[in-house]
Amino acid sequence: MLLIQCPYCDDALPELEFAYAGEAHIDRPKDPSALSDEEWRDFLFIRSNVKGVHAERWRHINGCGRFFNALRDTVSDRFVTTYKAGEPRPDLSGKEPAQ
Protein backbone atom coordinates (compact mmCIF):
# COMPACT_ATOMS: atom_id res chain seq x y z
CA MET A 1 0.00 0.00 0.00
CA LEU A 2 1.17 3.52 -0.84
CA LEU A 3 1.81 5.58 2.29
CA ILE A 4 1.65 9.39 2.19
CA GLN A 5 3.32 11.58 4.78
CA CYS A 6 0.79 14.09 6.14
CA PRO A 7 2.71 17.19 7.33
CA TYR A 8 -0.02 18.02 9.84
CA CYS A 9 -0.42 14.52 11.35
CA ASP A 10 3.37 14.10 11.07
CA ASP A 11 2.79 10.49 10.12
CA ALA A 12 2.86 8.27 7.02
CA LEU A 13 -0.70 7.12 6.43
CA PRO A 14 -2.53 4.97 3.88
CA GLU A 15 -3.33 6.51 0.51
CA LEU A 16 -7.00 5.57 1.03
CA GLU A 17 -7.27 8.42 3.54
CA PHE A 18 -6.18 11.05 0.98
CA ALA A 19 -7.69 12.81 -2.00
CA TYR A 20 -5.82 14.45 -4.89
CA ALA A 21 -6.70 18.11 -5.41
CA GLY A 22 -4.91 19.36 -8.52
CA GLU A 23 -1.78 21.37 -9.23
CA ALA A 24 -0.31 23.42 -6.36
CA HIS A 25 0.84 27.06 -6.22
CA ILE A 26 -1.81 28.44 -8.59
CA ASP A 27 -2.78 31.81 -7.12
CA ARG A 28 -6.23 33.16 -7.77
CA PRO A 29 -5.82 36.53 -9.58
CA LYS A 30 -6.26 39.46 -7.20
CA ASP A 31 -8.48 41.37 -9.64
CA PRO A 32 -10.22 38.83 -11.91
CA SER A 33 -12.19 41.47 -13.84
CA ALA A 34 -8.92 43.03 -15.03
CA LEU A 35 -7.93 39.82 -16.83
CA SER A 36 -8.42 39.15 -20.52
CA ASP A 37 -10.49 36.11 -21.49
CA GLU A 38 -7.29 34.28 -22.43
CA GLU A 39 -5.66 35.01 -19.06
CA TRP A 40 -8.79 33.86 -17.21
CA ARG A 41 -8.90 30.69 -19.32
CA ASP A 42 -5.27 30.01 -18.47
CA PHE A 43 -5.96 30.46 -14.76
CA LEU A 44 -8.95 28.14 -14.83
CA PHE A 45 -7.85 25.38 -17.15
CA ILE A 46 -4.25 25.48 -18.30
CA ARG A 47 -1.98 23.31 -16.16
CA SER A 48 1.67 22.40 -16.53
CA ASN A 49 1.15 18.61 -16.95
CA VAL A 50 4.66 17.87 -15.78
CA LYS A 51 6.51 14.69 -16.62
CA GLY A 52 8.69 14.28 -13.56
CA VAL A 53 8.53 16.16 -10.26
CA HIS A 54 5.17 17.89 -9.95
CA ALA A 55 3.90 20.18 -7.17
CA GLU A 56 0.35 19.25 -6.33
CA ARG A 57 -2.31 19.65 -3.65
CA TRP A 58 -3.57 16.76 -1.60
CA ARG A 59 -6.14 16.64 1.15
CA HIS A 60 -6.05 14.30 4.15
CA ILE A 61 -9.80 14.09 3.85
CA ASN A 62 -10.36 10.90 5.84
CA GLY A 63 -7.91 11.96 8.53
CA CYS A 64 -7.08 15.41 9.88
CA GLY A 65 -9.00 17.07 7.02
CA ARG A 66 -6.20 19.45 5.96
CA PHE A 67 -5.06 20.41 2.50
CA PHE A 68 -1.28 20.29 2.02
CA ASN A 69 1.18 20.22 -0.87
CA ALA A 70 3.36 17.46 -2.22
CA LEU A 71 6.17 17.03 -4.71
CA ARG A 72 5.46 13.81 -6.55
CA ASP A 73 7.26 12.24 -9.47
CA THR A 74 4.59 11.62 -12.09
CA VAL A 75 6.73 8.98 -13.80
CA SER A 76 7.48 6.78 -10.80
CA ASP A 77 4.44 7.87 -8.68
CA ARG A 78 6.92 8.36 -5.83
CA PHE A 79 6.31 11.15 -3.32
CA VAL A 80 9.51 13.20 -3.02
CA THR A 81 8.27 15.28 -0.09
CA THR A 82 5.14 16.83 1.41
CA TYR A 83 4.81 20.25 3.06
CA LYS A 84 2.20 22.44 4.71
CA ALA A 85 -0.14 24.67 2.73
CA GLY A 86 1.28 28.19 2.42
CA GLU A 87 4.91 27.07 2.50
CA PRO A 88 7.02 27.66 -0.64
CA ARG A 89 7.84 24.81 -2.98
CA PRO A 90 10.93 23.07 -1.51
CA ASP A 91 14.11 23.60 -3.48
CA LEU A 92 15.38 20.21 -4.61
CA SER A 93 18.43 21.54 -6.47
CA GLY A 94 21.63 19.97 -5.18
CA LYS A 95 19.73 16.90 -4.02
CA GLU A 96 19.58 13.65 -5.87
CA PRO A 97 16.82 13.46 -8.45
CA ALA A 98 13.83 11.30 -7.54
CA GLN A 99 14.20 7.67 -8.52
Binding site: M1, Y8, C9, D10, D11, L13, P14, L16, E17, N62, G63, C64, G65, R66
Partner: protein, 176 residues
Protein backbone atom coordinates in the same frame (compact mmCIF):
# COMPACT_ATOMS: atom_id res chain seq x y z
CA UNK B 1 -18.78 -24.33 9.55
CA UNK B 2 -21.92 -22.96 11.22
CA UNK B 3 -20.40 -22.04 14.58
CA UNK B 4 -22.67 -19.52 16.28
CA UNK B 5 -21.00 -16.13 16.59
CA UNK B 6 -21.79 -15.86 20.29
CA UNK B 7 -19.50 -18.83 21.05
CA UNK B 8 -16.47 -17.05 19.61
CA UNK B 9 -14.69 -15.22 22.38
CA UNK B 10 -11.57 -13.99 20.57
CA UNK B 11 -13.47 -10.85 19.56
CA UNK B 12 -16.86 -9.39 20.29
CA UNK B 13 -18.78 -6.59 18.62
CA UNK B 14 -21.37 -4.62 20.57
CA UNK B 15 -23.36 -1.46 19.98
CA UNK B 16 -22.61 0.85 22.91
CA UNK B 17 -24.82 3.35 24.75
CA UNK B 18 -25.10 6.84 23.26
CA UNK B 19 -22.95 9.69 24.59
CA UNK B 20 -23.04 13.46 24.24
CA UNK B 21 -20.67 14.13 21.36
CA UNK B 22 -19.32 17.44 20.05
CA UNK B 23 -17.09 18.64 17.26
CA UNK B 24 -15.01 21.63 18.37
CA UNK B 25 -13.07 23.90 16.01
CA UNK B 26 -10.89 26.49 17.71
CA UNK B 27 -7.53 28.17 17.07
CA UNK B 28 -4.82 26.15 18.86
CA UNK B 29 -3.68 29.41 20.54
CA UNK B 30 -7.07 29.56 22.30
CA UNK B 31 -7.03 25.95 23.44
CA UNK B 32 -6.63 26.85 27.11
CA UNK B 33 -10.02 28.58 26.99
CA UNK B 34 -11.69 25.45 25.61
CA UNK B 35 -9.92 23.29 28.19
CA UNK B 36 -11.23 25.52 30.98
CA UNK B 37 -14.80 25.50 29.63
CA UNK B 38 -14.83 21.72 29.14
CA UNK B 39 -12.98 20.95 32.37
CA UNK B 40 -10.33 18.81 30.71
CA UNK B 41 -6.92 19.70 29.28
CA UNK B 42 -7.40 19.17 25.55
CA UNK B 43 -4.52 17.33 23.81
CA UNK B 44 -2.51 19.17 21.15
CA UNK B 45 -1.12 16.33 19.03
CA UNK B 46 -3.32 14.91 16.28
CA UNK B 47 -4.39 11.41 17.31
CA UNK B 48 -3.92 12.00 21.06
CA UNK B 49 -6.71 11.68 23.62
CA UNK B 50 -7.41 12.65 27.22
CA UNK B 51 -10.06 11.04 29.38
CA UNK B 52 -11.34 11.75 32.87
CA UNK B 53 -14.50 9.99 34.06
CA UNK B 54 -17.18 10.41 31.41
CA UNK B 55 -15.41 13.36 29.74
CA UNK B 56 -12.98 12.71 26.92
CA UNK B 57 -11.29 14.85 24.27
CA UNK B 58 -9.53 13.62 21.15
CA UNK B 59 -7.49 15.80 18.78
CA UNK B 60 -8.43 14.76 15.24
CA UNK B 61 -7.17 17.72 13.18
CA UNK B 62 -4.86 20.75 13.47
CA UNK B 63 -7.73 22.82 14.93
CA UNK B 64 -10.36 20.14 15.51
CA UNK B 65 -11.36 18.12 18.57
CA UNK B 66 -13.92 15.41 19.27
CA UNK B 67 -15.45 15.75 22.74
CA UNK B 68 -17.41 13.13 24.67
CA UNK B 69 -19.47 13.67 27.82
CA UNK B 70 -22.43 12.21 29.66
CA UNK B 71 -25.71 12.70 27.79
CA UNK B 72 -27.18 14.62 30.75
CA UNK B 73 -24.39 17.25 30.49
CA UNK B 74 -24.96 18.17 26.84
CA UNK B 75 -27.07 21.31 27.36
CA UNK B 76 -24.82 22.67 30.09
CA UNK B 77 -21.70 22.15 27.97
CA UNK B 78 -23.26 23.98 25.02
CA UNK B 79 -24.26 26.89 27.30
CA UNK B 80 -20.72 27.13 28.66
CA UNK B 81 -19.19 27.28 25.20
CA UNK B 82 -21.85 29.80 24.09
CA UNK B 83 -20.85 32.04 26.98
CA UNK B 84 -17.17 31.85 26.00
CA UNK B 85 -17.81 32.68 22.35
CA UNK B 86 -18.00 36.46 22.82
CA UNK B 87 -14.32 36.60 23.77
CA UNK B 88 -13.00 33.49 22.05
CA UNK B 89 -14.31 32.68 18.57
CA UNK B 90 -14.89 28.98 17.94
CA UNK B 91 -17.49 26.62 16.59
CA UNK B 92 -18.97 23.72 18.48
CA UNK B 93 -21.48 21.33 16.95
CA UNK B 94 -23.50 18.61 18.65
CA UNK B 95 -23.02 15.27 16.88
CA UNK B 96 -24.63 13.06 19.51
CA UNK B 97 -27.29 11.60 17.22
CA UNK B 98 -25.22 11.63 14.04
CA UNK B 99 -23.05 8.69 14.98
CA UNK B 100 -23.46 5.24 16.41
CA UNK B 101 -20.66 3.81 18.50
CA UNK B 102 -19.55 0.19 18.28
CA UNK B 103 -17.26 -1.52 20.78
CA UNK B 104 -14.78 -4.09 19.41
CA UNK B 105 -12.95 -6.03 22.10
CA UNK B 106 -10.89 -9.19 22.41
CA UNK B 107 -7.50 -10.56 21.34
CA UNK B 108 -8.61 -10.62 17.69
CA UNK B 109 -9.91 -7.01 17.68
CA UNK B 110 -7.07 -5.76 15.44
CA UNK B 111 -7.50 -8.73 13.09
CA UNK B 112 -11.18 -7.91 12.74
CA UNK B 113 -10.69 -4.15 12.21
CA UNK B 114 -7.87 -4.78 9.74
CA UNK B 115 -10.27 -6.56 7.39
CA UNK B 116 -11.57 -3.11 6.37
CA UNK B 117 -9.32 -0.44 7.95
CA UNK B 118 -6.04 0.45 6.15
CA UNK B 119 -4.20 1.84 9.21
CA UNK B 120 -1.42 -0.10 10.90
CA UNK B 121 -3.44 -0.45 14.11
CA UNK B 122 -0.60 -2.05 16.06
CA UNK B 123 1.12 1.38 15.96
CA UNK B 124 -1.91 3.27 17.25
CA UNK B 125 -1.45 4.72 20.75
CA UNK B 126 -3.73 3.43 23.51
CA UNK B 127 -5.99 6.27 24.62
CA UNK B 128 -5.83 7.98 21.23
CA UNK B 129 -8.28 8.39 18.37
CA UNK B 130 -8.01 8.76 14.61
CA UNK B 131 -10.35 9.64 11.84
CA UNK B 132 -9.88 7.07 9.10
CA UNK B 133 -11.86 4.84 6.74
CA UNK B 134 -13.57 1.49 7.15
CA UNK B 135 -14.30 0.06 3.71
CA UNK B 136 -14.67 3.61 2.33
CA UNK B 137 -17.00 4.77 5.12
CA UNK B 138 -15.41 7.52 7.18
CA UNK B 139 -15.12 6.57 10.86
CA UNK B 140 -13.42 7.71 14.04
CA UNK B 141 -11.54 4.91 15.75
CA UNK B 142 -10.71 5.20 19.46
CA UNK B 143 -8.26 2.83 21.10
CA UNK B 144 -9.07 2.15 24.77
CA UNK B 145 -6.64 -0.72 25.32
CA UNK B 146 -4.34 -3.17 23.55
CA UNK B 147 -7.36 -5.11 22.35
CA UNK B 148 -10.23 -2.71 22.98
CA UNK B 149 -11.46 -0.23 20.38
CA UNK B 150 -14.51 1.93 19.83
CA UNK B 151 -15.63 2.77 16.30
CA UNK B 152 -17.87 5.79 15.65
CA UNK B 153 -19.70 5.84 12.36
CA UNK B 154 -22.39 8.02 10.82
CA UNK B 155 -25.85 6.55 11.35
CA UNK B 156 -26.45 6.09 7.60
CA UNK B 157 -23.25 4.02 7.21
CA UNK B 158 -23.92 1.93 10.32
CA UNK B 159 -25.72 -1.00 8.64
CA UNK B 160 -22.87 -1.39 6.16
CA UNK B 161 -20.07 -1.14 8.73
CA UNK B 162 -21.79 -3.26 11.36
CA UNK B 163 -22.69 -5.86 8.74
CA UNK B 164 -19.05 -6.12 7.66
CA UNK B 165 -17.95 -6.51 11.29
CA UNK B 166 -20.49 -9.30 11.82
CA UNK B 167 -19.26 -11.10 8.71
CA UNK B 168 -15.68 -10.61 9.91
CA UNK B 169 -16.48 -12.15 13.30
CA UNK B 170 -17.99 -15.19 11.60
CA UNK B 171 -14.99 -15.56 9.33
CA UNK B 172 -12.58 -15.37 12.26
CA UNK B 173 -14.75 -17.82 14.22
CA UNK B 174 -14.53 -20.46 11.50
CA UNK B 175 -10.80 -19.86 11.06
CA UNK B 176 -10.77 -18.09 7.70
Amino acid sequence: MNAPVTSFDAVSVAVLSPVARFNLRIAPADLAVASKVFGLTLPTKIGAGVRNGDRAAYCIGPDEWLLHAAEADQTAIMSSFDAARADTPHSITVLSDREIIIGITGPAAIDLLSTCCPLDLSCMAVGGAKRTVFDYAQIVLIRDGDDAFRLEVWRSFFPHVHGLLEIGVRELAVGL
